[in-house]
């Protein structure tokens, strides 16, 4: 198992404009061939990555293995990729993510939430595929596109919706907002607005795990951290600095790249000299894996191995998930630059429909069970909106709380008392 994971994936890059380049297996592992996808980058140059595809590599990529498995699966249920319970759990989680985000859009346009809201529609397979394999003590670090990561990790929909409405019952008491979802109970370490700034925090959480095991001698501490970030972040210094440190110290972390090909309006191909992000892993001494991020079962298999590696103390992994966001970058993005053909292509690879199809075809579940889940999720999301609506807005007294863990940090006032002892402090009107 471990060896397969060290493979270098040389299947045709879906962005390649010359599908005739020789490769190991012509029918690529990705669900639905992407060879016909026409991309017309403005400069019309070849970007020069065709040479890299010719490099030989030892073993077939993990995605291939599962393509084969899937073809055989119809005959024997023992080689199915997922059990019924797991499948329904995964389906439910993805539907929760999708339904929640759709509701966010509605609420935003009705003026219930404000600011920058970044929706995750289309990428559910990555969040569910990875996070559903984690324990409660494992940590997740995300970016501003963090609602679904929080939900998958177990933060109740009510708390996330309240947070988006800016109410005190939100997971961050209304102080964080869409881009800063935190949960100490579920070990969601944020929610970061600047890209890349969460990756060192994730590295730190992984460092704590290793420290607990080796310096504090908690021998059974095997907590893993997942860092989610996008293709744009992979050109940022913090990404590389952390790849180095994580590999150097064999930290229990998985770097999950959600490559949805666009950083607001900047195409990944226009901003990156070598767009194959998974290749950057081996440069730092960790395996780099490319997986179809629209297929939750494939993501799950890769995730099992990567998380397993980290738990066993073998070090970090870089996983590049090819995925797509169905909506614009944020609710303020008119999304005019993306080719409708590209959008249609990925819409046809909707992870939720794909999983449902797989499960029905393999007799794992019936249509009725999916409908029941859909209804249940609808109710959960409606309830979360009601809860958020009825929750109170933060009062003034909340203004000065939580700035410091120890409010003595506001200092000593002219009267000799600590400012936090001033009764006006709890009213939120103290001069600090």
């Amino acid at each position: 198992m471990a060896t397969a994971f060290w493979s270098v994936n040389v299947i045709q890059h879906p962005r390649c404009e010359r599908p005739s380049i020789a490769s190991r297996k012509p029918s690529s592992a990705f669900l639905g061939s992407t060879l016909k996808l026409r991309f017309n980058p403005p400069s019309r140059s070849n970007f020069g990555f065709s040479e890299t595809l010719r490099k030989s590599s030892p073993i077939s990529a993990i995605s291939d293995v599962f393509e084969e498995k899937k073809q055989k699966s119809a005959s024997s249920s023992s080689s199915l990729l997922i059990t019924k319970e797991e499948g329904l759990e995964v389906y439910e989680d993805m539907v929760l993510g999708r339904c929640f985000e759709d509701m966010c859009a509605q609420m935003y346009y009705r003026g219930k939430m404000f600011g920058f809201v970044h929706l995750y529609n289309g990428q559910e397979a990555v969040s569910t595929g990875f996070i559903k394999l984690l324990k409660k003590e494992d940590c997740v670090v995300s970016t501003y596109r963090d609602h679904v990561h929080a939900l998958s990790k177990g933060v109740p929909a009510r708390e996330v919706m309240s947070e988006l409405f800016g109410k005190t019952t939100g997971c961050c008491r209304g102080q964080g907002g869409s881009m800063h979802m935190f949960s100490k109970e579920h070990n969601v370490l944020g929610g970061f607005a600047f890209i890349g700034e969460g990756i060192p925090v994730a590295t730190g959480a992984a460092f704590t795990s290793k420290y607990r095991k080796e310096a504090l001698n908690e021998a059974d501490c095997d907590h893993v951290t997942l860092a989610f970030f996008g293709d744009g972040t992979c050109n940022n210094g913090q990404f590389y600095e952390c790849l180095n440190m994580a590999a150097l110290w064999k930290l229990p972390i998985v770097f999950v790249v959600e490559n949805n090909l666009w950083a607001i309006g900047m195409s990944h191909l226009r901003s990156t000299s070598d767009p194959e992000i998974w290749k950057k892993g081996p440069a730092f001494g960790m395996p780099g894996v490319h997986v179809d991020g629209m297929d939750v079962l494939k993501v799950r298999e890769v995730a099992k191995e990567a998380i397993g590696r980290a738990r066993r103390g073998e070090g970090p992994t870089l996983v590049e998930c090819e995925t797509y966001r169905f909506r614009g970058h944020s609710l303020a993005d008119p999304d005019e630059l993306r080719d409708p053909a590209e959008k249609a292509h990925y819409a046809a690879r909707d992870p939720i429909t794909a999983l449902k199809k797989y499960m029905i075809e393999n007799n794992l579940a019936k249509e009725g069970e999916f409908k029941a889940i859909d209804k249940k999720i609808d109710e959960i999301v409606e309830d979360s909106v009601e809860f958020a609506d009825e929750s109170p807005q933060p009062s003034r007294s909340q203004l000065l709380e939580n700035v410091f863990a120890d409010p003595k940090g506001f200092g000593i006032g002219p009267d000799g008392r600590y400012r936090c002892e001033d009764p006006k402090f709890t009213e939120g009107t103290a001069h600090v």
Partner: protein
């Protein structure tokens, strides 16, 4: 580090090398390479790593080999260190200490002679302290490590060779309090870090000339100890601030505003503030001397103030 196994150190050359100014000498041998971590040269990321570690239960002490290098970590210090406790609604505390040598040294050139206290002072959610003697360095360091808040501890490149007798028994100082260095009646001189020594040198001259200056080392750069400072202002009615920060937007500027706002009725003269010139610190020794405040200037300022 012995008292609390969650305390760890991270920084460049803190381990095997013992620290660029030998602050962490001997610690790696005693506590191991994981608790005294030699990091690669990636300030933004290892500071962020320290923050992530602090969020998940450790108490890291992050060293900037020279304070100036922490400019590279500004993203993490501002966004994550200062703000995460608030944006997470109080869920995650960040008990990190960020420390390092800064200030103007001996002809180290502009980039190694920076005073970052003025750049960091606006960041909400952090505390800043500056140590100036072996006694307060130890006390403030302990307080910073034990504090639940993120603390930036400013040391000075030229003060590492000071020797002083300090108590054997354990002591911890308050992060928010200023230190009365020399009580007096005529004028309040507020200072911190290395300028304390220039002020004390000037004080000797002033005493010979018949003045009685009160010297306070403010120590806490953010927040200001307005009680100690205010009590002094109410007694002397004259304030001189002596700092190594740049004039524009420096600690002195903030302190002037705070004192004027709170104690303006008690002032007999406008507050005087002596700061470094708004100039990148030159290499040449003569020029460098003229960028920072010298004792002679302090004497002149007090004489002017007390007219």
């Amino acid at each position: 580090m012995e008292r609390d196994p969650c305390v760890c150190v991270m920084g460049e050359d803190v381990g095997h090398y013992g620290g660029s100014y030998k602050v962490t000498k001997g610690l790696a041998e005693k506590y191991g390479d994981l608790r005294v971590l030699d990091t690669p040269i990636a300030e933004n990321s290892f500071t962020g790593m320290g923050i992530g570690a602090a969020m998940t239960g450790l108490r890291p002490v992050v060293e900037g080999m020279n304070m100036g290098f922490l400019l590279l970590a500004f993203n993490q210090i501002s966004n994550n260190c200062g703000m995460l406790h608030y944006t997470s609604g109080g869920q995650f505390k960040i008990p990190i200490v960020i420390r390092g040598p800064g200030g103007v040294g001996r002809q180290l050139g502009a980039e190694h002679s920076q005073r970052l206290e003025s750049y960091f002072q606006s960041i909400p959610g952090i505390q800043m302290v500056a140590c100036s003697t072996p006694y307060n360095a130890k006390g403030l360091m302990k307080a910073a490590i034990r504090s639940k808040n993120p603390v930036i501890l400013f040391e000075h490149v030229l003060l590492y060779n000071l020797k002083e007798r300090i108590p054997d028994e354990e002591y911890v100082l308050s992060l928010e309090e200023a230190e009365m260095v020399r009580p007096g009646e005529h004028v309040t001189i507020l200072t911190y870090s290395r300028m304390r020594y220039h002020v004390m040198q000037a004080a000797k001259t002033l005493v010979n000339k018949g003045y009685d200056p009160e010297v306070i080392d403010i120590r806490s750069l953010k927040p200001f100890d307005l009680y100690t400072i205010g009590s002094s202002v109410k007694k002397t009615h004259r304030v001189l601030i002596v700092e190594e920060c740049m004039r524009t937007g420096g600690i002195g500027a903030s302190l002037t505003a705070a004192i004027t706002e709170n104690f303006h009725d008690h002032l007999d003269a406008p507050i005087m503030c002596l700061s470094s010139q708004d100039v990148p610190t030159p290499y040449a020794g003569t020029l460098e001397n003229w960028t920072v405040v010298q004792p002679a200037q302090i004497v002149t300022a007090v004489e002017q103030l007390c007219q």
